[in-house]
Amino acid sequence: MNGKDFLSDQEVRWCPGCGDYSVLKQFTEVLASLEADPANTVVVSGIGCSSRLPYYVNTYGIHSLHGRAPSVATGIKLANPSLDVWIITGDGDALSIGGNHLLHVLRRNVQVPILLFNNEIYGLTKGQYSPTSRAGALSKSTPLGSIDYPLNPQTLALGAGATFVARSMDRNPTHLRQILMLAKSHEGSALVEIYQNCNVFNDGVFEAFTDKKMQSDHAIFLTHGEPLVFGSHRDKGLVLSGSQVQVVSLTDRSASECWIHDERDPMKAYALARMTGDLRPFGVFYREDRSVFEKQVHRALSETRSLEEVLAMGRTWKVD
């Protein structure tokens, strides 16, 4: 099977030019590379443009309630831990109404990759600002600019005790596929924030990071064990001195003196996550090994009692 075989027969209904198309494509290609069994795969979403994705994938799918995909997915995994479950969500879905369920699925470490389409806007409801919208963002509900301080999905996930935290983008298919593969292979909840362009209501917010030309100066791609180097000539690097992240020029320094990415280091991950300026990391910020919730639940249930035993428990008496 190739990527296309994972598409359902339903007409895709996003706006022409929407970043969601690319994510759908990479997602189906990843399913193909994984040789996923469509009959054993369940794609769960909340509500939003992004959350329409399950309809387009030829697996089992459930388009649930706004913000509740993590709980639905948890129920599915508790019911049948052997299913391959994916969560599709948006910045509004996951971080506004659904923030609490996201926290709890992450801390419990239910085995499920979570694709969080961040377009910094509510697409489906036609353009209100979202919890990730920047201060000053103009939207239908903030015609004078938003004053809410934006939520950082990366620090939030780390703070909630997530075991896998990553970021990718719609416009770098190779990177996105790679991160999705890693997320799928992770034992536990894997949060993948995907910068996604909503060309209708928030066009170009991520341009600096996703545009081929501008990207090299604004995006740092992370590789475990490799130094943090960027720039069109890979001539800039990062160093972490105490709490400060500094950009250094590599003309008079070697890359090996830079901050070496260690995805197992929670403090470094936090430092990466806090980089919300015009230089941003992409890749796996953090991963940690921790037992998987649904497996533990089922393990704990190994000592169950038959109905006969349950009925007979406690103080009973007989009348003959």
Binding site: V44, V57, I62, S64, G75, A79, R305, V319
Partner: protein, 606 residues
């Protein structure tokens, strides 16, 4: 003097730290074992540990034991066991004139009077003697003497007071002391066990040697139907029903809950019992619990969730999704006093309207109510059967009264439990293709070639694809309603509790009013009144024969613990003359009260 009687109502009251619920439970189990029927009513303070000795800290336990089948815990008490002044003054109006007050006099000392808010010069026991028989013993002193040689602190010894009383009461009601000792031995080990047994014996002995025959009130007993019994609360019955569901369905049940009084006990029971095929899951809130349950149902488990008042209100959106997805789901509402946080430990039936109508859009679903503890298990099984076999969410109403009231329960033989047959899961049927009963298949992930997508948007008939089409929407609204209307195929015949199938006065109740209602109607019926008691288990869709049945009576009265909900539903469907008796006080109806009301009504409408 033969004090043997047909039934006896006992009320135990004292501080919530006095071990009253335990004492009560021991007594009723013994009664049940000796062949008496028993019904109970517990009354806890709302606080975890209310200030000791105060009226707000009083814990009460009332029970009725009888030689014949009974259905309620009785109204006025024949015997009142008061651990302290506070317990006595809070409930004293419940003791019959001429009844017996057994008072632990150490709980009537100056300090106790003060804590209960009485003046130091008051003497409640003396006052009581005017109307009732009083037997006062310093139980604390008796206990501490009995436990002299046991290595426990004074405070710990005082805790055994309830055991001393248990000994006395065991003698007074002529119950089997040996069996009781064996039972205590099983429950309490070590020094505490020793202390409890010593206290028990001391109490028993005192009663025996003091020759309290005048106070003795034995209840005749009748051989119960053969079988194995235990005493059970409604919440325990529900947990057994869930356990049985997993077995009868042959699939796992995901029970997803979030703690809330009085529904939490179901989760506790399941966690404790660990029945095969049941996964108990404490979610982060009620929305997560219903959506997790629904996810589980999508994956081929049966999702069950329970809550009370505020938590049920949070589940409305999830219920609507379940309607749209046409997945099985059982939602149990253990009702309590409302609105809002209301009266969390009190009983009420005021969530019926919400169960019927509390969702946006046209979202009908079957609604049932448990009428008594002993039926909780079978009702859960029936709710699950309807949910699965008709692919629909089902609401099962319980309440704080049923949750906490205990009855002797004959364990069912497993072979007699109903089967639950999941509808087709074959991948060759379209996900929303309907069978003759309007039921769609349950094709679950893992089924090869069965892949499909469903969601909260309106779905196209058969395919389940998103559809905004006007005709399709109307058809699907009709089809969902139709499917739910057809669940009446799971109902038994309309059966009457007391009385004839036609007559002058028809009394309709539902849920936990059953016991008091049945007792009251039976009395009137025995007195020769033309009165019938019908108790509805199915509140939506109603039993198809209800309206014809109502027409057979001159007048109908609906009795509910709310401001008139079922009565409004019935009135909208029939022109029959109908009146209403209700109360929304957080307290159950007393059978005497209902007797009086119905008596008047039956005279008026005769």
């Amino acid at each position: 003097m033969d004090n043997t009687r047909q039934h006896l109502v006992v009320l135990l009251a004292g501080d919530s730290g006095d071990g009253i619920q335990l004492l009560g439970t021991q007594l009723i189990r013994a009664a049940a074992q000796s062949g008496q029927d028993v019904r109970t009513l517990s009354d806890f303070p709302a606080e975890i540990r209310a200030p000791q000795g105060t009226v707000s800290g009083v814990s009460g336990f009332q029970f009725q034991m009888a030689a014949e089948a009974i259905f309620d815990p009785g109204d006025a008490a024949d015997v009142f066991v008061a651990f302290n002044v506070a317990g006595w003054i809070k409930h004293k109006h419940k003791l019959k004139a001429g009844g017996l007050l057994i008072a632990s006099s150490d709980g009537f000392d100056a300090r106790s009077l003060a804590l209960a808010g009485l003046a130091p010069d008051e003497d409640p026991l003396e006052e009581a003697r005017a109307d009732v028989q009083v037997l006062d013993i310093d139980v604390k002193k008796l206990t501490s003497e009995a436990l002299k040689s046991i290595d426990l602190s004074g405070k710990e010894k005082a805790r055994a007071k309830n055991m001393t009383l248990l000994g006395m009461l065991t003698w007074l009601y002529g119950q089997d002391a040996e069996a009781m000792e064996v039972d205590l031995q099983r429950q309490f080990k070590g020094t505490v066990g020793e202390a409890n047994r010593a206290a028990f014996r001391a109490g028993f002995h005192l009663a025996e040697t003091a020759e309290w025959s005048a106070y003795r009130r034995e209840v005749a007993s009748k051989k119960a139907a053969p079988g194995t019994y235990k005493t059970l609360s409604g919440s325990q019955g529900i947990a057994l029903g869930i356990a049985a569901t997993a077995r009868q369905l042959g699939r796992q049940v995901l029970y997803a809950g979030y703690p809330i009084t009085p529904a939490s006990d179901i989760l506790h029971e399941l966690a404790r019992l660990r029945p095969e095929g049941v996964v108990p899951f404490q979610a982060e809130d009620e929305i997560a619990s219903i959506t997790a349950a629904l996810g589980a149902s999508f994956a081929g488990n049966l999702g069950i969730t329970a809550s009370s008042g505020p938590g049920i209100s949070l589940k409305g959106e999830g219920l609507g999704l379940a309607v749209m997805l046409e997945l099985p789901l059982v939602v149990i509402n253990v009702q309590r006093g409302g609105p809002s946080t209301g009266l969390p430990t009190k009983m009420e039936q005021s969530d019926l309207f919400q169960a019927l109508y509390g969702r946006h859009g046209e979202a009908p679903m079957p609604v049932m109510a448990i009428k008594r503890t002993g039926e909780a298990m079978e009702d859960v099984l029936l709710a699950a059967k309807m949910a699965v076999e008709a692919m629909t969410p089902v609401i099962l109403l319980s309440d704080a009264y049923i949750a906490n009231s205990a009855e002797p329960f004959r364990l069912p033989s497993i072979d007699t439990l109903p089967t639950i047959d999941a509808p087709s899961g074959a991948a060759d049927r379209a996900p929303y293709a309907r069978d003759a009963q309007g039921v769609r298949p349950w094709i679950t992930p893992g089924t090869a070639a069965g892949m499909h997508r469903i969601g909260g948007l309106e779905s196209e008939a058969d395919t389940g694809h998103v559809s905004y089409d006007a005709k399709n929407h109307q058809n699907m609204v009709d089809a969902r309603a139709d499917k739910v209307n057809q669940v009446t195929r799971f109902y038994g015949p309309l059966s009457v509790e007391v009385g004839e199938h036609t007559g002058k006065l028809l009394v309709i109740g539902w849920g936990s009013t059953f016991g008091a209602l049945r007792t009251a109607v039976e009395k009137l019926h025995k007195e020769g009144k033309s009165i019938t008691h019908l108790h509805l288990k199915h509140l939506f869709p109603l039993h198809p024969d209800v309206y014809e049945f109502i027409k057979g009576f001159g007048h109908t009265v609906v009795v509910e613990m709310n401001q008139g909900q079922l009565v409004q539903v019935l009135r909208s469907q029939t022109q029959a003359p109908m009146s209403f008796i209700g109360q929304t006080s957080g307290q159950p109806f007393g059978a005497d009260f209902l007797y009086a009301q119905l008596n008047t009504l039956s005279t008026q409408k005769a």
